[in-house]
Subunit: 403 residues, 2 copies
């Protein structure tokens, strides 16, 4: 390994925004400022699109106010992109890198972004261009391999937990069936997090459906019927990626026009069609009058002023770590290792090869989903709760002594 | 006026929950505990339904922990109801009141609830039953007459402002058209509040449509087209109660099966149909590929851990005020009068006759809506901003110097 080259760095943010992807960016910026090896830090506006178009902003002279400001703000402060670079795209990236003497590449994103960093890194090696490429994990889906969890998940988990806590209190006040559709194409982690706010035996969500376990409409309606008959109400959390028992996504049955992004993903968010379909199915099959459905949508990833402290601190540390690693290593993806549980929750950072994270996604382990496939286990709650940074307590008076 | 009778009191919470209706309940409870005239305080479980069914809980012995706990919690801690008492219903209420020597009635709710209190009060007078009936205002719609604003509005306004601030940052990161459907059947106050987070000229929401001003699909699409061509993106806030220029609600054109509640109101919330309809109209008419739509739904009224401090303090004061008034007055609705503006915002409480608040709803004044009917004025921002208790600042880096 040669010593760290004196050259410029590029940082970008890719994929769907999160509540703390800017904290990771702040971590990269503040750490870069400590290393004279990195002369300039170019922020790629709209990720790889910005790189090939030469659309960069100067980040080394950022003010402390802006640095702390973006660290507290959701979304991607540099702009994001859903482009997936192919060989031709990567050739253009190199042209720009060579032209600007860029030899450090920090890319914040999900598995697609790790893959982009990986491809770019391999191409750099092939043409003998000395470069250091590091992926900094971010996703609200928590579906990256190797790492214990992903920055972005804790904040989104806190949001959906608080949303469903409130929704459950609302449903106690005006009983009926309430269905909440939560983000998560293949991984049920975020939908599962709706369970974290449960504080009493009869608190909702009473049923939770995740993409890892297919469910038929018969089971879905039957489960709701059982809860409704017992409690007179039912709050249900459903992942947008939920499938039938044969593996077909329910959205596929509902949405006729499938809009796909450059990665071949079907559009699940930004539409209420699945929620409305489920609602009408329950009304029809169970003859329950008050059935409501909400799709939480983009609020889950971009709500202002509601970060998890644990999450934001870890996200920022991951950004710093990538830069530190680049001084001694050639490439990699930053990972979080858990070193303490429960109230003693603690973590430390590590590194894994880019190809270990690229492309493939992690599903929830079997032991986090209950036997019936309609709820989570205590093991999941133990895993996810610390990442929210703690949740408020809820109160109601319906259980007070009657007079 | 005779002196305050030594008797029992009933308190209830009616209509759609809010983020601070429990703070008003806490205010009633803590003030009742100071007045020996009130022997017992019965909490009606599920409002008037609880009264006629004799479903009460004892609230005078509530613990401080529970009192402060419910004050910090959204939804209606006693349970709510959408029943609208007729004469027969009211006769049953009196039977219960007489049987339990209830001569104080505190009812927290919107204009329908003020009407309920009014009807009950008139019937009490007719049969010569000495009773004191007070309405405590609550609604996220901010549509009650006489009062400057309603407890519940400030917290909901803070929520939608922060939601759209985040959504606008998200839309900067991944540009396209984003449509957000906000609660508000007849009054546009909550939809208008999405403007409160705007901090830069090109911040969204770029367009805001409120029920007070009809808009044609042609204008709607034309407005979006103009913004999109200028900024390459567009964030739109639309009230669920939006109408066409002939006054027909758009939901009527979209939703075939109209579910109505006991007050004859059509179900607007708990469905994503309007948002999806608007999204597909924009896609079709403007040939823009990335169009997304979210319906904020019940999160607006029931999110946990996100109260406006101004709102929660006023809501609690309104609850206390109703009890204080009942010591010297026969009936009324608590109102808030504004006594200071901007950073010197201040308010004091007053009282108006029940019939002044009952039944009818307040629309936004003309001077709060812009000339084109697609945005709000500075006068509205000046009016609404203090009620949120202040909003976070947002940051992004796309406007940094290019290198």
């Amino acid at each position: 390994m040669t010593s760290a080259p004196k050259a410029n760095a590029v940082v970008g943010q890719s994929g769907g925004p999160t509540g703390v992807i800017n904290a990771s960016l702040a971590g990269v910026i503040e750490e870069v400022c400590k290393h004279n090896e990195i002369e300039n830090l170019y922020g790629a506006v709209h990720a790889v699109d910005g790189i090939v178009n030469g659309n960069f902003v100067d980040l080394k002279n950022i003010s402390i106010q802006d640095l702390e400001g973006i660290a507290s703000c959701p979304s991607a402060a540099l702009g994001s992109s859903r482009s997936k670079p192919d060989k031709e795209f990567c050739a253009k990236i190199f042209d720009v890198f060579k032209e600007r003497n860029v030899r450090y590449f920090f890319y914040i994103g999900g598995n697609d972004s790790a893959n982009t960093a990986h491809i770019v890194n391999v191409m750099a090696a092939e043409v003998g261009y000395e470069m250091r490429a590091f992926h900094i994990p971010k996703t609200i889906d928590n579906d990256l391999l190797v790492t214990d969890h992903c920055p972005g998940y804790g904040t989104a988990a806190k949001f959906v937990a608080c949303a469903v806590m409130g929704d459950d209190l609302d449903n106690r006040a005006l009983p009926g069936v309430k269905i909440d559709v939560i983000m998560g194409r293949h991984a049920g982690y975020l939908t599962a997090a709706t369970a974290l706010g449960k504080q009493r035996d009869d608190d909702g969500p009473h049923l939770i459906y995740m993409p890892e376990r297919g469910v038929s409409m018969e089971q879905f309606a039957g489960d709701i019927d059982k809860v409704y008959k017992k409690l007179g109400r039912c709050v249900v959390a459903v992942s947008e990626g939920i499938t039938d028992t044969d593996g077909t996504p329910w959205t596929k049955k509902v949405i006729s026009t499938e809009e796909k992004d450059a990665h071949g993903n079907i559009q699940l968010s930004g539409t209420g069609a699945l929620a409305d379909f489920l609602s009408s199915q329950v009304k029809t099959k169970l003859k329950i009058k008050r059935v409501r459905a909400d799709t939480f949508g983009y609020l889950q990833r971009s709500f202002v002023g509601f970060q998890s402290k644990v999450d934001v601190d870890e996200a920022r540390a991951c950004g710093r770590e990538a830069v530190k690693l680049s001084m001694n290593e050639q490439s990699g993806s930053v990972i979080i290792n858990r070193t303490g549980e429960g109230e003693n929750y603690a973590s430390e950072l590590g590194c894994t090869e880019l190809r270990n994270v690229a492309e493939f996604a992690k599903e929830m382990p079997k032991e986090y989903i209950n036997k019936d496939g309609n709820g989570v286990t205590d093991a999941f709650v133990k895993y996810a709760m610390p990442l929210t940074g703690g949740l408020p307590k809820t109160y109601y008076l319906g259980n007070y002594p009657k007079v």
